[in-house]
Structures are given as C-alpha cells and as structure tokens.
Amino acid sequence: MNKHVSPKMNRRAFVIGTAAVGTGLAIGLDLPFGGPAVVRAADGSPEIGAWVVVRPDDTVVIRIARSEMGQGSLTGLAQLVAEELECDWSKVTTEYPTPGQSVARKRVWGDFSTGGSRGIRSSQDYVRKGGATARVMLIQAAADAWKVPASECTAASSVITHTPTGRTTTYGKVAEAAAKLTPPADVKLKDPKDWKVVGKGLLRLDTADKTNGAMVYGIDVKLPGMLNAAIKDCPVFGGKLKSYDEAKVTGMKGVKKVVKVGDTAVAVVADTWWHAKTALEALPIVWDEGENAKVSSESIAKWLAEGLNDDQPAYVGNKNGDAKAAIASAAKKVEAVYNYPYQNHATMEPMNATAVYTADKCEVWCGTQNGEAAFAAVLEASGLPAEKCDVHKVMLGGGFGRRGQTDYVRQAVMIAKQMPGTPIKLLWSREEDMAHGRYHPITQCKMTGAFDANNNLVALHYRLSGQSILFSLRPEALQNGMDPAAFQGVAQTGEAAFGYSVPNLLVEHAMRNPHVPPGFWRGVNVNHNAIYMECFMDELAQAAGQDPLEFRRKLMGNHPKHLAVLNAVAEKIGWTTPAPQGVYRGIAQVMGYGSYVAGAAEISVTDGNKIKVLRIVASTDPGYVVNPAQVERQIAGSFVYGLSALFYGGCTVKDGKIEQSNFDTYNSMRINEMPKVESVMVPSGGFWGGVGEPTIGVAAPAVLNAYFAATGKRIRSVPLRDQNITFA
C-alpha cells in the first residue's frame, strides 16, 4: 500500500462514477447488498458512523467536510479522526461527502464552510468524536465475535487485541459487523498529552498528484460532451448589460452559442475555452454602466477621509475610560492617519465551475470553500429542489476567502440552464478574475495617542473609516448596524482581542461602503488593523523615547498570551543585541482567529527605497498544534501573502472599474524576494486557534517598522509600489 494515498483518487473515482450513473447520491442510500441499517460508501464498504468507512483490506476512508485549498486541513482533520480511531495511518485515505448527501442526512457532517481559519478549530471536537465512535463500534464487534467483554479489548494501528488471550483481528475484518451496531451515545476523547498522531508533522495526504499533473482542479474537470464558456460581466460594479452583437461572432470557429447571464453579463459558449475567449473578445458589447462609473479611488479616499472626523457618526467597538477627555488634557499627543487599499485574492486558478442542467437534475463540479453555500447557489440558480441538485467539490487552486463566494457557481448554472443536458465549464480569464473580485475592504484610520508628563500612554483613540464586509455579504450579522468584525485585532474580548491595556481607550468605525464589493480576503480585517495599530505603537514608542519592544511590554501586563509570542520572536531575532551593520529590525504582534501571533523582520535599505528582507521570525500560540509542519507552512505562506499585498498589491478604481488586470499590474512576490521564515510555535493548550490567517497581520507592520528604523521615515500608506519603494 502506498504510504501517502491520494484522496483525489477516491474523489475522482467518485466524481466519474456518479457522473456516469447520473446521480450524486451514492453514499447515504441503503444499497441492496447490505443490511438495511448499514450505510455504504460508493464502493460498497460499510460506514462506521458518518466519518469513517473501513474497507476489507483495512483501508480507512475518513470523510472530510471542509475544503482543502492548500492550507493542509484535509490532512489535519484526518489526523484528528485517526488519533481517536487508533487506525494505521499508512492506510488512511480521505473523501469529500457532497453537500447534497449531507442535506439528505440532516447535515450529519456539520458545517462545510472553510474560512476564518476555522477548518480545524470549529470541527475538531465532533470529528474526534467520529473517530472515537468508530473505534468503540469496531472493538465491540470484535468482542461480540469472541464473546468477551469489550473492556478486555484494545485497539492500535487498526488491530484489535483481546488482552487476556492475545487473540487479534483487524478493523477490515470486523467492519461489516461493526456497521450494524448502534453507535455509543457518548464517547470519551483522549487527553491531549496522550496524542500520538495529532501534534506530529506528518506529510500531507494529497501531495503525490500535485507533482505529476494528475490532481483535478475545477479548471481540469472533463465531462462527456462538455462545452466551454468564457464570460464578461459589466466592468463597473452595479452596471448592466445593455446589448451585444451576436452576429459578429456566431460564425467564428467553435462558437456554439452566445448567452446573456442575468442582467449584467454575457458569455460565449464554444467547443474549447480558447475559442470561447477569442470570440468573447471579438464580441461588441454595450454596457449600461450607471452612476457608479463616476466613482474613482480619489472620490472614495475623500469620502473615507471625511469619516475620520469626529463629527461624523461612528460605531464604538471597544471603549474604556474617556479617551477624548484624556487626550484633550494630555501633556503630549501624537496623531497619524494610515490607509489600506482594496486587494484581489488572485488565486492562481481563476474562478470556474462546471454545471449540467436538465429539468430533473442540476449538478456542479467546482472548487469551493463552502460546499453548502455553493449547493444553495445551485438550488437558487437552477430553480430545482435540493434532492435534484448537488455539488461535487474538487481541489481548489487557492482560495484565500475568494471561493467562499458563489457568484461563479451561479453563473455556470445560469449558462447551463440555457443549454439543457450539455455540461458547461465556465472559466474566468485572469482579467475577469481581477475585474470581479470580492476585494479586501478599503479603510483609513486616524489614531491619536496621549501621554502624561512622565511619558506614560494615558489615552488612545483609534478611528477607522471605511468598508464593512458584513454589510455587503452577511447583513444579518450586523449588530444594530455595527460590523463587529471590523474590530478584529482591536476588540475588547473574543478571538481577536486587543493586546494592550490603555487607561482611556476609544475604538470606533465610521462605516462607509463604496460600490466595490468587499470580501473575506485571507486575514480579513486583522490585516489593516494590525498595520495601523502596530505601526502606530512604534510611533508612540518613538514619541515616548522608548524601545518599541519595551514600550509594548509595559502595556501588555494583562495580556500574557499576547506578550508570550512577542517575547518569543524578540528572543529569537535577538532584539536586545545590536543588529549587524546596515541591518534594521521591526516587530509586531496581534491576536486573530483565536491565535496569538507575533513577527519580527530584519531588513536592509539601499537608496532609501530598495528593501531587502533578510530575515523573518514568527511566533504563534494557537492553543494546540495538530500538524506543526503544516502550521509552519501556513506561517511562511502568510508572510508571502501579506508582503505581496504590502509591496505589490492594491487595486485602484477608475470610472467605477478596477484598474489592475493581471499579474503585470498586480504583482506577487517571487522566490528571490522571500527570506526563510523562522517559526517558533508556543502552543499553550486549553484552546483552539486558527493558523491560516493571523500571521498575515504582523507581516507588513514588522517590515514597515524596520523600514522606519532604517530610514527614519514612516510609511502610512499601502502598497509600497505607489510610493516608489520596492524590493532590492
């Protein structure tokens, strides 16, 4: 047995199998070759509870509800199940249940949503219970066969042993009998100190096919008779499609049909995508751009700047004492205004989905971070009921929050609905992907700090102005109009709590929502809040004439976990010893997604504007670490994502449209610009934090603070591209 079995093999077999028989519901049906109570996988192997299927050859198939997009949760979740199951890790493989199956079984696999660094932390308890439940049932089946008490039996590495007699059997041999048992009402989970599989940096389960071209992403889905679609949506958000001259392209090679997609878009369907895209570019289109065509980056910036004024309404997100009064009577005050731009997720794989629609069934194959949201989009766009719809998830070529949205799924169904029975693969060009993102929200922030005569920080006023993601995407989550997520990293309590104690504090948000659609962009609101707060902390330290680390430490006495990660990076980078000649350091910390993170950077600067990042140290306390090798990769990747945004990112608006169109105008870091990231994991236990996102928050401020140390210049605006600062 191959040690690193690819789950894709199962998924692919599953996808092809279900496509061939025209049903997406293989698992969950009572198939004729088992007892009535036994639920079987597509290959007939029995389920031992919803999370585990055991094959006769002892292969264990672990069900994964969350999506794998590179972050490693698929492997981590399998480790959690395997830990409790006591199975042979070398025989573990995985498969995705479909959202349709889950709905048909009363959401037995829980939430499918894979965002907010929640993949592991919000399902770790019930997936571990799934593993433990299966173990108890398998042991009971063996005990029943031996006619001995289950308490005399133990399981390890998929082998069950009757301790008094030394008799053994395997999971594969008792699986059929185990599947017929009633699951235990309650199971006890292991004490973390007894973990053997969890906590190990095991190799990922999905690597092999990513090295030979065999992994199937959404863009690679092939169905018999499939046609390809290229699409253009009105480049001005909120604008509409007025008309198009179909006759100009109908004779072009491979073109099958030109279709209107809702009120805003037009698509060309052709034999190949290249033909579809070529014809789409030749298609004369008239847009009704509407009022939003008057909006520009300048007009947005002006509107947001107004929101920084105290006379404008704002929501209060965190408060103690009376910051305004304390500032008014302070011995010294410091003020600064920062801003952060729109950012596109720029997943390497542009948005795409493949849909087949008939009056009786609508199925979609796509990469999605939220299978259930995609499923809901299919229901809505097809007009068919849940039992006639399904979504088959495939590997995502990057997600970063973008594939939590379902606009591309809806479009694919709307096109397929106009060509019933023909599978349609809709693929966005990179240009379409850049023009129709769900962008990191745009904000500005005015901060005022006040000191007493002894240089103690007595007040801080943190006033954000700008866009709310929840207002646009999840208005039901607003609290009397306020977006609580806007305060990620500067909140009073919770999973993104502020790490400093200031006697008089006022944190507020003047919500201003331009027409550009915002989205959850990896790190989300932690990103700009961490830049604003951590760069301003350095400004305050400078004003007080104190070392940036020491200044922070004095404010962190009541925040020991925040302080511990900050201390860990300070120690690792050698903060208290002088940096080499020409090397400058910066430091930052933040809490996000339930984890405490800190980062420090060493840089050199030539000609005042060419930055070489020489060294990065990062520390994380996520409570528990399921797979340290993957956490390390998430931390390092977070710096690549965060520093790409700092140096090269930023989407600007002109005539209501996004100006950047591809990687030539929206660049991303390359290997020569990225130093090694030295990770220090300090899991303190007792809580579960996420790791995919929080570190992005400290990447930019660590470098910006180092830039100040090197040059004496504060950078208060992102991206650096616009200030003629680049990598050396």
Binding site: G70, T211, G213, M348, S668, K676
Partner: protein
C-alpha cells in the same frame, strides 16, 4: 491542423496555428497538468520544456512549437520512475494548493539540468514563478536537497 510532439507522442490536433501552446496542450491534447494562470507569461503556471528549455506555454504559439520536443508535467517521469524533482517535492511536502507546482517543477527540472548544483543566487534568477500560497521556502530547500544528493 498541427502536429505536436508531446511527451514523446505525436498529436495531430485541430487547432489554428496562432493558438497558444498552453490551450492546445490542455484542451486539444487533453493534458491538463499544465495550468493557466495569467495568459501573459507572467506567472509561470504553464511552464513546459520545449527542446529542454523551460518556456511559458501561454506565450508560445502552436506554429512555433511544431517540430519541437515538448515535455509537460505528465511526461517528466520515466514511466513509473519519478523525476528527482518530483521525488523531492513529495519527500519535502512542497506543494500547498499545488496549482502552480506543475510549472514550478518544470522550471526547477530545467534549472537542475543546466546547473546540477545551483546556488541560492542561481535559484533566485531562474525560478520566477508565482506561488500565492507561498511555498518558496520549501521549493528552495527541496532544490538544495536534490543538489546535495
């Protein structure tokens, strides 16, 4: 119609001569391991070998590729024997989402063919592929592992 030699096989494909090689490989030859990322030779996801040289196939037309030896990620291994870059990628757990890695692996294989023991500076110069997940650290480590084997 065009005749392309891909991974040692001849494909007679119904494509226009100005079709980018990337799309002929993906849609006409049906080899989807080579990925589309930008279409303007910026990101490197579509990197293949043309007569042994790493090229961005979105920027090469079918007519330019005719008569040349094209190798895609599917043709990198020798039968069941993986290429040393593929082996190292698995041993070092390099890919995250993996979408850029076909191109990354092809670029690295070409570099190692030219310079079996590349320095960090050689890597910096030759490997210019975009990876949004940020696997650069593992890419560099894996290259050095191969070079020191």
């Amino acid at each position: 119609m065009a005749n392309l030699t891909i991974n040692g096989k001849t494909f007679t494909l119904d494509v226009e001569p100005d079709t980018p090689l990337l799309w002929a490989i993906r849609e006409n030859a049906g080899l989807t391991g080579t990925k589309y990322g930008c279409g303007i030779a910026q990101c490197g996801a579509c990197t293949v070998h043309i007569d042994g040289v790493a090229m961005r196939s979105c920027g090469v037309s079918v007519s330019e590729a005719e008569g040349k030896k094209i190798t895609t990620i599917e043709g990198l291994a020798s039968g069941a024997t993986l290429h040393k870059v593929q082996e190292a990628w698995i041993a070092k757990d390099v890919p995250q989402c993996g979408y850029c890695q076909s191109g990354m692996i092809m670029a690295v294989a070409a570099l190692l063919n030219e310079k079996p023991k590349p320095t960090d500076a050689d890597i910096d110069e030759a490997i210019t592929n975009i990876c949004r997940c940020g696997t650069f650290q593992q890419v560099r480590e894996a290259i050095h592992t191969i070079a020191s084997a």
